[in-house]
């Protein structure tokens, strides 16, 4: 009898494990995250304390350029796929909560200050769509029509800002728009035009005050003070790129609030083997750090003491670590082939790095700069931890 009960129990456990919907154990989500398996339309769910995967959620569509924001309770990951898919993944139950296909082609998204609205930045048709974070029902549609032809611009650099605002750049229109969604169904959009040619991405500083957009079509960076938007756009770093010849840009750099460290912004040089260091508030360039390739992600450890950099093809097998006190490179690492992304744990004792062509994610100790764990993953790209839930501009 005892033996029979045992067998039954085992069978039940096996069944629920098979179904992938085991009864969730009581736990928090603050140390969890997802790894995008870009070619498989799937995310791995990971535990940054255990340094292990605990689940896998398939069926997310084309994740060739995927990004993630988190619900403010850090339980749900909103995954934006290339094919316009927006999938709400429940970390605790390891399953899809809701999924919609909201456009033909999407680049990323943001979540509002109050956590009630999720906004998607779309290429096709160009614009921003805003959804209820619970139901994923459409709340507002902001087509990025510009000029007189009725054409719609691709949207890049979408970030949240205090006041339930979303700020984003119009790649084709050279404009930056600030949408106030304090009344969600009636967005108030403030438009700034002729900001500079082809803004390629943008960031909101961690205090929510400044929006910075990098320019692809010309030299310079555009700055908007969200505390004083009436002052308009300001160009900074205008001479950036004028010295020496630019290289072909094999991959667009990415900007986000992670670039801020030690009172400075560390920005990827476009078409250059350089990281640009800009002093906050004076917005003067104070250093250029030569690096091994064209930077894609330039990310500060959460305490700002180190800045980690990865690179575009063909130098995408290395990661360099900059000491933010001396602005010197203190280590060059080789995590694997095709390093696509990095993500720090909430307080930065470790960083997870995806090596797409080696099908693995490496975890580095940021003090020793040595690898401490390896996780298998199929063509891993983005890594997103739930601590993003609490960060302005993420």
């Amino acid at each position: 009898m005892m033996r029979f009960a045992h067998t039954l129990l085992a069978a039940a456990a096996a069944l629920s494990a098979l179904a992938g919907c085991a009864t969730p154990t009581m736990r928090g989500t603050g140390d969890l995250g997802v790894i995008i398996e870009r070619a498989s339309g799937r995310v791995q769910l990971v535990d940054t304390s255990a340094r292990a995967a605990f689940g896998s959620v398939p069926g997310l569509g084309d994740l060739s350029h995927a990004s993630v924001v988190y619900s403010r309770d850090a339980r749900y990951a909103f995954v934006f796929g290339r094919d316009g898919g927006l999938t709400k993944v429940d970390l605790l139950n390891a399953r899809i909560e809701r999924r919609i296909v909201q456009s033909g082609n999407s680049i990323g998204g943001a979540i509002s200050q109050d956590g009630r609205l999720v906004a998607a930045a779309n290429y096709q048709p160009g614009g921003v769509k805003v959804f209820d974070a619970n139901s994923l029902e459409l709340v507002a549609d902001i087509p990025t029509v510009y000029g007189s032809s009725g054409a719609r611009s691709k949207v890049v650099g979408l970030a949240d800002a205090p006041g339930n605002r979303f700020v984003f750049s119009l790649f084709d229109a050279d404009e930056i728009w600030v949408a106030d969604l304090s009344q969600p169904a009636r967005p108030q959009v403030q438009k700034f035009s002729a900001v500079g040619r082809a803004p390629y991405d943008g960031l909101v500083t961690p205090d929510g005050r400044y929006y910075l957009a990098g320019l692809f079509g010309e030299d310079g960076v555009v700055l908007l003070d969200l505390w004083k938007p009436e002052r308009g756009m300001r160009r900074i770093l205008n001479d950036y790129g004028k010295r020496g010849e630019k290289l072909p840009v094999y991959k667009m750099p990415h900007l986000r609030g992670w670039a801020i460290a030690n009172g400075r912004a560390y920005l990827p040089g476009v078409g250059r083997h350089e990281v640009l260091v800009v002093e906050l508030t004076s917005w003067r360039e104070i250093a250029r750090i030569p690096v091994q390739g064209q930077p894609v992600f330039v990310m500060a450890r959460p305490d700002g003491r180190q800045v980690w950099v990865n690179f575009a093809i063909p130098n995408n097998g290395t990661v360099q670590v900059i000491d933010a006190m001396s602005n010197q490179i203190i280590r060059t690492l080789a995590p694997g082939r095709a390093v696509l992304h990095m993500e720090f744990t909430p307080r930065g004792e470790a960083v997870w790095i995806s090596a797409r062509d080696d099908h693995r994610v490496l975890v580095y100790d940021t003090r020793t700069l040595e690898p401490v764990a390896t996780l298998p993953a199929e063509n891993p790209s983005g890594i997103f931890f739930s601590a993003r839930a609490a960060r302005i501009g993420f």
């Binding site: 870009r38 070619a39 084309d62 060739s64 350029h65 290339r82 094919d83 082609n105 680049i107 290429y123 096709q124 691709k154 890049v156 790649f171 082809a198 390629y200 692809f216 079509g217 072909p248 840009v249 094999y250 991959k251 667009m252 093809i313 063909p314 095709a338 797409r356 062509d357 099908h359 199929e378 063509n379």
Partner: protein
């Protein structure tokens, strides 16, 4: 699912083999590298399914009216004034011709690893 994918790969491989009448195609190992490069790295802008992104779609329908010669030139020399870089530092003319041929015919998927 895995079998289905494998079948696609085998079919693709056969198609490639059949189409290899041209003597100046790259070596098969290079072809695999090119498939990965186009799917993964060109895919960063054009989408892994080549449906488009920051860059335009590269599916046969989208390219039908474009002469192979100009596609080859775009790959090797880029499109000044746009985000399309010149790839001649990483791709040979043979590579570019092969990519154009298969973009126009329907680009192979990556092999199951």
């Amino acid at each position: 699912m895995r079998h289905a994918r494998l079948a696609v790969v085998v079919a693709t491989a056969l198609a490639i083999t059949t189409a290899r009448a041209a003597a100046d195609d790259p070596q098969p190992s290079r072809e695999r590298e090119l498939v990965r490069l186009v799917r993964q790295d060109c895919g960063a802008c054009h989408g892994m399914t080549l449906k488009g992104g920051l860059g335009p779609a590269l599916l046969p329908d989208a390219l039908r009216d474009k002469p192979a010669e100009s596609l080859r030139a775009t790959i090797l020399r880029g499109r000044p004034g746009t985000a399309m870089p010149p790839w001649q530092g990483m791709l040979s003319e043979t590579d570019a011709d092969w990519i154009v041929k298969y973009l126009l015919a329907g680009f192979p998927r990556e092999a199951v690893r």
